[in-house]
């Protein structure tokens, strides 16, 4: 049983929740840029939280299913279709062997996630399936998917979901479940909430003011490692040589040219640029869905506010995952 990649799309990679515990060895965490969307895709098809899925960036691939599979798509709306019919996101569906799923142009957001019930039968590297292209780790041969690739995967396990969908399939080539979950809203040019970074006070008042009052465009040089932002430069009074120290998802660092970089999933583990701000965990998914060329603005929150927002988001997510587990498992 496998998925055949007929067309790769712009950047389609296998991702899970990342490689945890190896940062002290310089190994990036990686994993899904929008972890919430991947977790929901997995939950919609009854997979465990740790399962891998496909991260599909902006321009979508064409995928043929070489066996009957239950799948779900979440995250960005990249116009998925089967035989020209629109496929709805955030809803599991059953496809018969030979069905081709095509993704088109991005209508909203930047990254879509596709989960397959049973998930992929690939080796984990350092506990993870996450593809890290730069060190050729994980995924399928450590690389982005190419036309002609086949991803081995299990078929759907028996259970409520398979029973429901099989009963509704009749002689069609695919069928959706009768239920779905509400997709989170995707803002085109969102407000990203941040706390002050460890070196915030090193920046002059003018740079601090520009951070809070300006819109920053996500430049074309952005990737899974970081978003390079274009806006007013945020210079330091005097260039500072800092000793390298740990950085994390959402760290907003400012190199000597003054153009901030927001570190994302494939960030390096340590860095030496001054860190003016730090995106709060509750806004990682929102940030991951900002497409190249779109703008963001920053809004300051306190650390207790950041924690309250994260805990609230996690509480809602856990309830949703629990509900989905009851719907999909036998």
């Amino acid at each position: 049983m496998s998925l055949s990649i007929l067309r790769a799309g712009l950047l389609t990679t296998i991702q899970d929740l990342g490689r945890v515990g190896y940062q002290r060895e310089g190994i990036v965490v990686g994993g899904a840029m929008d972890a919430v969307a991947l977790r929901l895709a997995n939950a919609l098809v009854g997979n465990p939280d740790s399962a891998a899925g496909l991260e599909i960036t902006l321009l979508g691939p064409e995928i043929r299913f070489d066996a009957d599979h239950i799948i779900a798509v979440t995250g960005a709306d990249l116009s998925p279709t089967i035989r020209g019919e629109r496929v709805r996101s955030y809803r599991p569906f059953l496809v018969r062997q030979g069905t081709v799923l095509k993704f088109g142009a991005a209508r909203a957001g930047c990254r879509a996630y596709l989960a397959v019930a049973g998930s992929f039968t690939l080796p984990r590297i350092m506990g993870s399936h996450a593809t890290y292209v730069r060190a050729q780790l994980g995924g399928l041969h450590g690389a982005a998917l190419q036309a002609g690739d086949g991803i081995p995967c299990l078929g759907p396990p028996p259970g409520k979901l398979l029973t429901e969908l099989t009963a509704r399939l009749l002689n069609k080539s695919w069928v959706e479940a009768s239920w779905s979950i509400a997709p989170p809203p995707v803002a085109g040019n969102p407000v990203i909430r941040v706390t002050q970074g460890p070196e915030y006070e090193l920046f002059p008042a003018a740079s601090q003011a520009a951070l809070w009052s300006s819109a920053f465009t996500v430049s074309a040089a952005s990737d899974r490692m970081g978003y390079r932002l274009l806006g007013p430069p945020l210079p330091l009074v005097q260039a500072q040589e800092l000793l390298s120290s740990a950085v994390t998802f959402g760290t907003v660092q400012v190199p000597p040219d003054g153009n901030p970089i927001v570190l994302m999933a494939d960030r390096q583990t340590t860095g030496g640029y001054p860190r003016i701000a730090q995106v709060i965990s509750a806004d990682f998914s929102r940030l991951a869905q900002v497409a190249l060329g779109k703008s963001i603005t920053f809004q300051e929150v306190s650390l207790p506010e950041a924690h309250a927002l994260y805990l609230g988001q996690q509480h809602t997510l856990q309830q949703l995952l629990h509900t989905l587990r009851l719907k999909t498992c036998s």
């Binding site: 190896y22 940062q23 002290r24 730069r134 390298s244 740990a246 994390t248 995106v279 650390l303 805990l311």
Partner: protein
């Protein structure tokens, strides 16, 4: 521990322990002591740690330290860290550090910038090699790339500025100098360090139980080898 340790947040899921302001062995040993303690006595809710020159960053699960949403997670993790530090009385390393020998071939084909470093320091190439391989180094931290060591202990006499134009591709195993630092490229990557040699050892291998050959706290020496020995080592490694 003698000096007060500064604590500050790195976002809402990491806390930084700062042990000093400059690269120094006592600071390094204090950080190692906390890492060793964490290895032996993992603290629930702490996900992983990243040691650096003067800091130790602990990644934590805010949900765990919120006591199911009732407490401030930063207060919770701060209390856990203070308790952890109180347990560590002695900053001396508990285990003697490993001393590794890293074979390096300094031949021109592997060290294209050896002459640049030599002329910059007004030394002969042989003298640069002697000084580079005559010192004992400490791995202060691993960062920049998988398995890439930041080393302390280089003879300042062979310091050299970075290249004006970074190379678009530096091979894995390349040994370089940048300022007063020396290091070993662990994976093929763009890089601006002056390259003076290459080791046949694999600094990073994802299929090893410990993927990074070097760990923070290790000590190492560079041992000059010939091109012939380089070839033999390389066959042995693969």
């Amino acid at each position: 521990m003698s000096n007060p340790i500064q604590l500050y947040p790195l976002g809402d899921a990491a806390i930084v322990l700062k042990f000093g302001d400059t690269i120094a062995l006592p600071t390094h040993h204090a950080i190692r002591a906390v890492c060793a303690h964490l290895d032996e006595h993992p603290v629930p809710g702490l996900v992983e740690y990243v040691p650096a020159f003067t800091t130790l960053t602990l990644y934590y699960d805010p949900w765990h330290f919120s006591a199911h949403g009732r407490l401030d997670p930063y207060a919770g993790v701060t209390a856990a860290v203070r308790q952890l530090l109180a347990h560590i009385q002695n900053a001396a390393p508990r285990h003697a550090p490993r001393l590794l020998k890293i074979p390096v071939c300094y031949a021109p084909e592997f060290g294209p910038d050896l002459e640049v470093v030599a002329s910059h320091s007004h030394l002969l190439a042989e003298e640069v090699i002697a000084r580079h391989s005559g010192a004992e180094y400490v791995v202060y931290m691993i960062g920049f790339a998988p398995g890439f060591p930041y080393l302390g202990g280089m003879d300042a006499r062979i310091a050299a500025p970075r290249k004006d134009q970074p190379r678009t591709l530096v091979p894995a195993g390349a040994v370089g100098i940048a300022g007063t630092q020396t290091g070993i490229y662990s994976i093929p990557t763009p890089g601006g360090w002056q390259l003076i040699g290459r080791t046949p050892l694999r600094l990073f291998d994802p299929h090893r139980a410990q993927p990074s050959l070097l760990q923070a706290g290790d000590q190492l020496r560079f041992v000059p080898i010939t091109e012939r020995e380089f070839g033999q080592h390389q066959r042995h490694e693969s």
